[in-house]
């Protein structure tokens, strides 16, 4: 099948999936007790049944479920995710304001976990009984079993309080002045701890998988051929073996992308990182339905886009999937 057609089909499926997510989210929120009218009356300091009824009519909450759903989907198609009465702001602008912070955290953690995980996996696969190999096994067990918020708090205590290398919370220091680079450096300093915390779980997974597949690939016939050609050790490992060992790791990374996004909620809360995670946490407590729906929608979008990218990355690595020509 030509690559262009495969791509189109993938994108079509992604859009269909997104629509399904939208319907499901809306239905779930509709089933939950309490609605916007409650939130508004609460913020007014309470209201009687008549006022509540009026609010419901004003916001279309008295309409049948299907009408509300249709209207919601129609609005989303116009990039209108509703209005947050809690934040007094349109949900779209609220989310777009927070999205970059989350994307920065999620993508940098994923990249860190992948790069370090693969490197550790490869190096330890070359000496399966060496010190480093045992260290990777230990790290994997630790990273996978330690709760992410606990890891975060430990890192905070160690590297912000005891040894004050990194800032405790937030994403930017308002006292920082200067040009683009001063701000970039400031954000980077804030990013280090949350990024490491979020990466720790996935680093464990990827390094284990990379080690296992790499060991298998290093014993394969084509690696023996590569050695018989007299290639350097570097070419044998990084050109011939690694390229083959990457596919399973990329597949897992794609599958884990949703877990990374949900992990971000916890990490953002621990580090007061001003992203979608903290927003989600606050809006759930405030029962801010439009905002919650918007965040769910955007999380789904991020995960679906992540999976699409994974698919394309796999096609780049493995020609048998038909990504080239």
């Amino acid at each position: 099948m030509p690559a262009a057609r495969v791509t189109l089909i993938r994108i079509f499926y992604a859009l269909a999936l997104l629509l399904a997510v939208l319907v499901l989210n809306f239905s779930l929120m509709h089933l939950a007790p309490g609605d916007v009218a409650d939130t508004i009356s609460q913020s007014m300091g309470g209201a009687d049944a008549e006022v509540l009824e009026r609010i419901r009519i004003d916001y279309g909450l008295d309409q049948p479920f299907l009408v509300q759903l249709g209207r919601y989907i129609g609005n989303v198609l116009h990039f209108d995710l509703g209005y947050s009465f809690f934040y007094n702001q349109s949900v779209t602008s609220l989310i777009l304001e927070r999205l970059p912070a989350t994307l920065l955290l999620v993508v940098s953690a994923q990249v860190l976990a992948l790069v370090v995980g693969v490197v550790l996996g490869v190096v330890s696969a070359r000496r399966p009984n060496g010190m480093l190999s045992h260290f990777v096994t230990f790290l994997a067990l630790f990273g996978y079993s330690a709760p992410v918020f606990w890891t975060g708090i430990l890192l905070l205590i160690a590297f912000s309080l005891k040894i004050p290398l990194f800032p405790v919370a937030g994403m930017q220091d308002i006292t920082v002045t200067g040009g683009f680079f001063a701000h970039a450096w400031d954000i980077l300093r804030h990013l280090v701890l949350p990024m490491i915390t979020l990466a720790s779980i996935f680093l464990a997974l990827y390094s284990r998988l990379a080690r296992a597949t790499m060991m298998e690939v290093l014993g394969s016939d084509y690696v023996r051929t590569a050695k018989a050609k007299g290639l350097s050790q570097r070419d044998v490992v990084y050109k011939h073996a690694l390229k083959n060992a990457l596919s399973p790791v990329i597949t897992l990374a794609g599958l884990q992308f949703s877990a990374v996004v949900s992990g971000a909620v916890l990490v953002e809360t621990v580090f007061s990182w001003p992203g979608l995670g903290t927003l989600a946490f606050q809006s759930i407590i405030a029962r801010d339905t439009p905002t919650i729906l918007g965040i769910l929608f955007f999380s789904a979008l991020v995960v679906i886009v992540g999976n699409l990218l994974t698919d394309f990355a796999l096609r780049l690595v493995d020609p048998r999937l038909g990504g080239r020509r």
Binding site: Y222, R224, T225, K229, G230, K239, P319
Partner: protein
């Protein structure tokens, strides 16, 4: 007299087992002359492939090792050569093709690149020049449309074509020795014949010596001038192919030959009945014993066969047989 290209002297290869070590190659000596074609024959597990891997310096790490003996290639002992020096020789002066064409090529790299990288590594060719020569090599191994097929991936080729690509890789640097480890076992019969034709023609053009490992006596008769029959890690018999087939001096060789229908005989000739070699190869644990390891399967067995390892007995025609009863056979 010309010097031999490769001289193997008293080679002993040990394999680490769960309980101790086993000599998978036990006191093997032979010589390979420039341009000669030599065949290794024997059942599975008799040490043919181990010999090949030892010459390449590719014995399985941590499991197999050369315990003693010498591998003298062009006056240089490969058993003491550095890893860097071995890398210079591998794929350049000695190269190897393997049994499994389906898995021996890297699935995610184009065949052109897999050929070209050998040329870049050993001959310092530029990317462009190496790529052009890769196409020429594909043409030389008779793959149609070589210009367009260089950018194919292995999965786009058949088993026979992949083995041709392997041959192109092996012959890219015009090696002095080509080791072919059962190059046609995984291919169907018509393709086997084509691969043998190809190897024969390429050998005639380049003058490469070939060490062919096989358990197919028909292939030996077709390809080789001399043959070494291996049994349980030891040499059973060595000599010119036609003479051994005509008059084998080792009961194991006789058994192997009588397994094959009409080697070198006309279809009209009356044929002897096909037989088999009874029993199985001894287990690795019995490999080092001071006795004839074939004795348990041999109809000529006598007392001395079980007491001492048989000495090599040479005959005037260049045949050497490691059997107590060689003269009587």
């Amino acid at each position: 007299m010309t010097e031999p290209l490769l001289k193997v002297e008293n080679l002993r290869i040990e394999l680490k087992l769960r309980d101790g070590v086993a000599p998978v190659i036990d006191d093997l000596s032979f010589e390979l002359m420039p341009g000669e074609s030599l065949s290794f024959v024997g059942e599975s597990g008799c040490g043919k492939s181990m010999t090949a891997l030892a010459i390449m310096g590719l014995l399985p790490e941590g499991i197999g090792r050369i315990a003693s003996g010498k591998l003298i290639f062009d006056g240089e002992d490969l058993t003491t050569a550095s890893e860097a020096r071995l890398r210079q020789i591998r794929g350049n002066e000695i190269s190897m093709i393997f049994q499994e064409p389906m898995t021996s090529l890297n699935p995610v790299i184009t065949v052109g690149e897999q050929i070209a990288e050998v040329l870049r590594t050993h001959q310092g060719l530029s990317r462009k020049a190496a790529w052009d020569q890769a196409a020429e090599l594909l043409d030389a191994v008779r793959i149609p449309n070589p210009r367009s097929r260089v950018s194919d991936y292995p999965f786009q080729m058949s088993g026979g074509q992949r083995q041709r690509v392997m041959i192109a890789i092996a012959l890219a640097c015009k090696p002095k020795i080509l080791i072919a480890d059962e190059p046609t076992t995984a291919l169907d019969v018509t393709v086997q014949a084509q691969i043998f034709d190809l190897l024969r023609d390429l050998r005639a053009q380049t003058g490469t010596s070939i060490i062919m490992i096989t358990h197919d006596m028909g292939a030996v008769a077709e390809m080789a001038e001399r043959m070494i029959v291996m049994y349980a890690g030891r040499k059973a018999e060595i000599g010119p192919v036609d003479q051994i087939i005509d008059h084998a001096r080792h009961p194991y060789t006789q058994g192997l030959i009588s397994c094959v229908p009409h080697i070198m005989s006309d279809l009209t000739e009356t044929r002897e009945e096909l037989t088999e070699v009874p029993g199985i190869v001894p287990s690795l644990r019995e490999f080092g014993r001071d006795q004839c390891l074939f004795a348990s399967r041999c109809k000529y067995r006598s007392g001395e066969c079980l007491q001492h390892r048989p000495p090599a007995k040479g005959f005037g025609n260049g045949q050497i047989s490691d059997c107590w009863h060689a003269e009587a056979l």
